[in-house]
């Protein structure tokens, strides 16, 4: 195709979570030209949907949004959102990436983000950004602080009524838009593909996502976020304010029977953080964390954990073996209480959060870059003792959770290190 969009830059960053944003900014500030490819309609990754961060309880979007804005306004950074990387080839030291821009069904250059299309659309859908708890339209800007502020149409559910097309003042609704290929040439690649949480169905005994009041930690983040789906903490089945909330630790980690033998590192801390936030928004609720070991692994984390204990959050050493529910959808946990008489026991709560683990966000081996994967599908470093970003593929670097579970401060720090490695690699070319 002769009119194919072509971009030539110094570095390609795959993924625009906090690690991707940080490494792109670090490289661009050093004078390199950078392109970021993001598969979702907005940059910002997982962090932009979090409420607060541990252990400082800073507002997550207050840290992420400025970086998102810097990236989108940076003269040397190009962002391709709602685009997938299909292949990356390396020839004579130059990477050529085949990228597909998915159709938003609007003219991105003409759109002025007025949201009139969204206002008039008659179709309501569960909002995946709110973990299915809120509603969105079939054509919608993904969330309030999304960047870019461009609506995306869901062609599966659109009823082709044409209301949006009639309402659009710039006439930029395009029902016939096709996926558009983009060719990117770059000298170095940073993989910042992040993570997905282990599925709610990972452990058969945990209700297989069929229990309405057993929710994911991401859903709990949305419940706690100031601009969340309900504006307060309510449980999904009946909108009741939960009086007793439980966290099931290691619900997707350290469990060979579900294929995730490693510790996902962050779950203890995010559960403690959420428990602290919950006791702020629901002061009289009982909050229990069922854990195997509490791994408070960073600076100030043990203090954070001790604070939570002092605040009255119950920590019970027990692995939850089974979750069922009663007729009112109150989840029932079967545990062995190891302290005291040590006996199997069933405990009822009103809301349960499964502390899901982290697994690789993408299988980067499909690009054929020479970057190897470890046993669990994360990017393998060529020598961890020498560098925290260099992979076995020449010119390919890894940042953030793509290398294995880590928290936000660690992701930011080693995104910087990946940027430095990429810069020095490019300068030596």
């Amino acid at each position: 195709m002769s009119d194919m969009e072509k971009i030539e830059v110094d570095a390609l960053v795959v993924g625009s979570g906090i690690a991707g944003l940080q490494s792109a900014l670090d490289m661009a500030d050093q004078g390199l030209s950078v392109v970021i490819v993001e598969k979702r309609p907005s940059i910002g990754g997982k962090m932009i949907s979090l409420s607060k961060v541990f252990p400082t309880l800073d507002c997550a979007s207050c840290i992420t949004t400025p970086r998102m804005a810097s990236v989108s306004h940076h003269p040397r950074i190009t962002t391709l959102t709602y685009s997938t990387v299909d292949a990356i080839k390396r020839e004579n030291g130059v990477f050529t990436a085949a990228v597909t821009r998915k159709p938003r069904y609007i003219d991105e250059k003409e759109c002025i983000s007025c949201k009139r299309c969204e206002d008039v659309c008659p179709v309501y859908l569960p909002d995946e950004y709110e973990e299915g708890m809120g509603a969105k339209k079939a054509i919608t800007i993904p969330f309030t602080n999304a960047i870019p502020q461009l609506p995306v149409m869901d062609p599966e559910h659109c009823i082709r009524c044409g209301a949006c097309a009639r309402a659009c003042p710039k006439d930029c609704i395009d029902f016939l838009q096709q996926p558009a290929p983009v060719e990117i040439k770059a000298k170095a690649v940073i993989l910042a593909t992040g993570y997905e949480t282990t599925p709610m169905t990972a452990k058969k005994q945990y209700g297989m996502a069929k229990l309405p009041n057993v929710i994911s930690p991401m859903a709990a983040e949305r419940l706690l976020a100031p601009h969340g789906p309900y504006g307060r903490v309510l449980r999904p089945s009946d909108g009741m304010v939960p009086g007793s909330i439980a966290y099931v630790q290691c619900a997707g980690s350290r469990d060979k029977s579900i294929g995730v033998p490693y510790c996902s590192r962050v779950c203890c801390m995010y559960a403690i953080k959420q428990a602290i936030l919950l006791s702020g928004s629901l002061p009289i609720a009982d909050i229990t964390i069922y854990y195997m070991d509490i791994r408070a692994f960073g600076k100030g984390y043990e203090q954070f954990y001790n604070n939570a204990r002092a605040m009255g959050i119950n920590f019970v050493k027990a692995k939850v073996a089974r979750i069922t529910e009663d007729e009112k959808h109150n989840p029932i946990l079967r545990i062995e209480r190891q302290e005291g008489s040590s006996a199997p026991e069933e405990v009822k709560h009103e809301l349960v959060v499964l502390s899901q683990g982290l697994r690789p966000g993408d299988d980067v081996s499909r690009y054929g870059l020479g970057a190897e994967l470890n046993d669990f599908g994360f990017v393998k470093l060529s020598d961890e003792t020498v560098s925290s970003a260099v992979t076995a593929g020449a010119g390919v670097f890894a940042a953030g959770v793509s290398k294995g579970p880590r928290d936000i401060p660690d992701s930011v720090v080693d995104a910087g290190s990946a940027a430095m490695e990429a810069i020095s690699y490019i300068r030596k070319l």
Binding site: K203, K204, Q205, C250, R254, D255, K256, S257, M292, A318, K319, V320, A321, R322, R334, I335, E336, Q338, S341, S342, A343, P344, E345
Partner: protein, 360 residues
Amino acid sequence: MKVNPELIDEIKKYGAFDISACFNCGNCTAVCPLSKEDASFPRKLIRAGHVGMEEKITSAIEPWHCYYCGECSQTCPREAQPGEYMMALRRYLIAKYDITGLSKIFYKTGWLQTWLTAGLFAAVLWLYNGYTGDFGALAGKIEMAFPVYVTIAIAGYLLNMYRHAIVKPLGGIKASLKPAHIIETFLHGFTQKNFNGCEETDLVRWGSHLLVMSGYTLTLVISNFHMLEPLDRQYSAFSPVSLLVWYAGFAIIAGGGVMTLRRLFKSAESSKFTHPSDWLFVVMLFLIGLSTVTTLGLNVLHGPADPLLAKVYRVNIAIETVWILLVVPFTKWIHIFFRPLAVYFQHVRKEAEAGTAFSL
């Protein structure tokens, strides 16, 4: 309490090869539908094994409450096979309670018991074939001797189990005389109803167990009272004795056959790991059923004077002889008694705690 640092390595010799992977999370105990407040397992027993609390293990009755549904092994985060550990504990306890020490040797040396059984079978069959007198009368005497031998063998086990599980930990001879408890003990013995306490009821396994159990008990009655005399009498197909034999034989063949197939194809969690003694047990059971049914069948069809019947009957008695001599008193068989007794001992312990137990 004395600590035996080699305990876990000793238990591992009876199976449970992966148990060192356990990180003591308690998933197994919590997921187990049979684990109760007063009998909580497997985690506590694994812990006791790891830290070498030998008396805790030798006095444990919990292994006999476990019916190995395998859910703990399937959901174990460390794939430490707690279900197989419980199985290994049962073997370990059988070896511990065996006064002769032969069970221990048989368990640890794999196929030795099977080879001895095969050898003894050949020898006994050779003797029986060489016997020129009235074999029917001899078979009667042999069968009448079985109960004496078996009672002595079993009594040793039961006394030993009682000593370890009740006398030592409770500090004296205690018993429960409540009829309800005694009835429940027998009920468990015959129906093994706890099988169905497992979360996903394995009806095939329970059914095959029940078939084998009932068939085998009946076989015991038939042989120990020498009810079947195929060389001396002509049986009709539907005489009372024939009906008993048909049921016993076919129940064992069907049940034992299913058990064998499940072990062959490892279709359930409980049949994934097979010790040679398990093979010996199910195959011998199957052969007992088969040879008994064949004996009666030949008698019904061709009468007591049939030359083939004479041979088959000798094989039948030879199988029963080695079964009684070498299989029953050692390794797996004794679990038939230990399971209901564990239910009884549980009551004794509870009553002793409450101070209502009969004591000497």
